[in-house]
């Protein structure tokens, strides 16, 4: 936990005391923690933004970082819109978060693109008057079954619950991550570096992985995190040896034994840690024995985090979990006892828990979630498709891939027809879906199993 119950991110950075530590975010973007915390990008309009709901939608991480530091403790609510999230959801997200102002970066005039959405009714008597820092709601986006994102409410305290203060005698650390800081995994590293006054190196938006690794190496990065898929990309880069980290962290996807072995052999002096964390469940635990899966002792006892297995999935209760999903009709995020269902199915074998998939069949493609229902809905709109079942195929490069079993309305006849039809259905999917959601394989089958409930029977979870 943070020291002294922080009032704002800016105050915490100032309290950390190492204000000259650099934050390097690529060519021409960067500064020190002191400059970021003391910056005045928003000073002129702070009074306008006070107590408002602000959506931060910038292309550059540097501008996002400035916004997060300067808005926390000032605005009522702050929505972190990831750069890879389709802009088609912007209106939906803005409405759901009751956004007053959208901040989007601009190369020439920073934050000039501020625009006020439709005026909405204010509470009678207006918002509470501003006196000192307020506890800002941090809204993170995660994928939803229909394709539209779900909005998850956190606070600075819940987001920083796993961050321990650094001891003064510790070896110097330089943090880095392959994640964007508007994703939970990247935000963790950003906040960790900010609250401990640690130098931080982030990838520029146009920077290649090889260039980034070269810069990270020159900056002396010691601690670095990413998804297993991002790490596989690093191992396939000629610049893999440009960094010599002493701490390598994997999260956001299941770490298999191959990636753990390869990272240990590439970086023999590094501690290789795979963490289980998610936007909703927060940071749950870390495994450091370079072995896939989770020791059952860690499930039974991890400080500050209670875990239990219920109906095959892992449930988590801690002060690091999110509070709720925004929206009147959203499902509850926690059960009556305050436990969050991670939805991850774990099997116990020889005193170790192994992930065997998601109960809802969600497919993780290189760290991006795909809900089978969304892909099936698109497939089922194709005039030749009767019904479809989307499932996961394991991939050594992206962890998972999307494949589909399809029942045609009329059986395809010759082989040529089959290929042409597959091609046509996939073309249809490519027009309708983000590229990672398009099935990489399409099997025509005669039937699909349907349960008595009328729902498709999913086998991969």
């Amino acid at each position: 936990m943070l020291r002294n119950n922080p009032t704002s991110l800016r105050a915490s950075i100032l309290a950390a005391g190492n204000l000259s530590a650099p934050v390097d975010m690529g060519v021409g973007a960067g500064g020190s923690w002191g400059e970021l915390a003391g910056g005045a990008a928003f000073a002129a309009r702070m009074s306008n933004l006070r107590s408002q709901s602000v959506l931060v939608e910038t292309t550059s991480q540097f501008e996002a970082a400035q916004a997060l530091i300067q808005l926390d403790g000032v605005v009522r609510r702050m929505v972190l819109y990831p750069p890879d999230m389709s802009r088609e959801h912007l209106t939906f997200v803005s409405e759901l978060a009751q956004t007053d102002v959208i901040l989007s970066g601009d190369k020439e005039i920073k934050y000039s693109a501020e625009r006020t959405l439709s005026k909405r009714a204010r509470p009678l008597g207006g918002y509470p008057s501003f006196s000192g820092p307020m506890e800002t709601e941090w809204i993170l986006l995660t994928s939803g079954t229909t394709g539209a994102p779900k909005l998850v409410r956190h606070s600075l305290a819940s987001l920083t619950g796993a961050i321990a203060p650094r001891s003064a005698s510790a070896e110097p650390i330089v943090w880095s991550t392959f994640y964007d800081i508007r994703r939970y995994g990247g935000l963790q590293i950003f906040l960790r570096a900010a609250l401990t006054g640690t130098p931080l190196v982030l990838q520029g938006s146009q920077e290649s992985i090889a260039d980034f690794l070269g810069r990270a190496g020159r900056r002396g990065v010691t601690h670095i995190s990413g998804t297993p898929s991002q790490w596989r990309r690093v191992l396939m880069s000629p610049a893999v040896a440009a960094i010599a980290p002493c701490y390598v962290r994997l999260s956001g996807e299941i770490a298999d034994q191959a990636i753990l072995n390869r990272l240990q052999s590439q970086y023999p002096n590094a501690k290789i840690v795979h963490a289980f964390a998610s936007t909703v469940a927060g940071v749950v635990l870390e495994v450091s024995d370079v072995t896939m899966g989770i020791p059952s002792s860690a499930i039974r006892h991890t400080p500050q985090v209670e875990m239990r297995m219920e109906q095959g999935t892992l449930r988590v209760r801690s002060n690091r979990t999110a509070f709720e999903y925004l929206g009147k009709n959203s499902p509850p995020l926690k059960d009556a006892d305050g436990f969050v269902d991670t939805g991850d199915v774990l099997d116990l074998r020889e005193d170790r828990y192994y992930f065997s998939g998601r109960r809802d069949g969600t497919i993780n493609v290189g760290g991006l979630k795909v809900h089978p229902e969304e892909v099936e809905a698109v497939l089922n709109r194709h005039p030749h498709v009767g019904m479809s079942l989307v499932r996961m195929k394991k991939s050594p490069i992206t962890g998972g891939l999307v494949v589909a079993d399809v029942v045609l309305r009329a059986p395809a006849q010759a082989d040529e027809n089959v290929q042409a039809l597959q091609h046509d259905i996939l073309k249809f999917c490519r027009e309708e879906l983000a590229i990672y959601k398009v099935p990489v394989g399409l099997n025509f089958v005669s039937t699909l199993a349907v349960a008595k409930t009328g729902k498709l029977i999913r086998h991969d979870a």
Binding site: A210, M236, V240, G366, S395, P396, I397
Partner: protein, 85 residues
């Protein structure tokens, strides 16, 4: 070089070309020394290529706990040639 190995290289090139076309990616001239991430394809494309090659060649050289990640196009082909030995 035996016929099977030549077929492997031709099949790998065919799948790179096919996937690049499907994903609207610009494929660089494929030489053995070319780093994979300079071919014009991204991780998702490589994952798709691996699936297609498993279907056409019947092998998945990456499906083991201790394989080496290929860095160049030549090393990528080498993974498949070794797996057919």
């Amino acid at each position: 070089m035996n016929k099977l190995h030549m077929d492997v290289k031709a099949e790998v090139i065919a799948q790179f070309t096919q996937v690049a076309t499907e994903q609207n990616m610009q494929l660089a001239p494929l030489t053995d020394e070319l780093p994979l991430f300079n071919t014009g394809l991204d991780s998702l494309c490589f994952a798709i290529v691996v699936v297609r090659l498993e279907a056409s060649l019947g092998i998945d050289p990456f499906n083991a706990d201790n394989f080496s990640f290929p860095v160049t196009f030549g090393e990528f082909i080498g993974c498949y040639k070794n797996a057919t030995k």
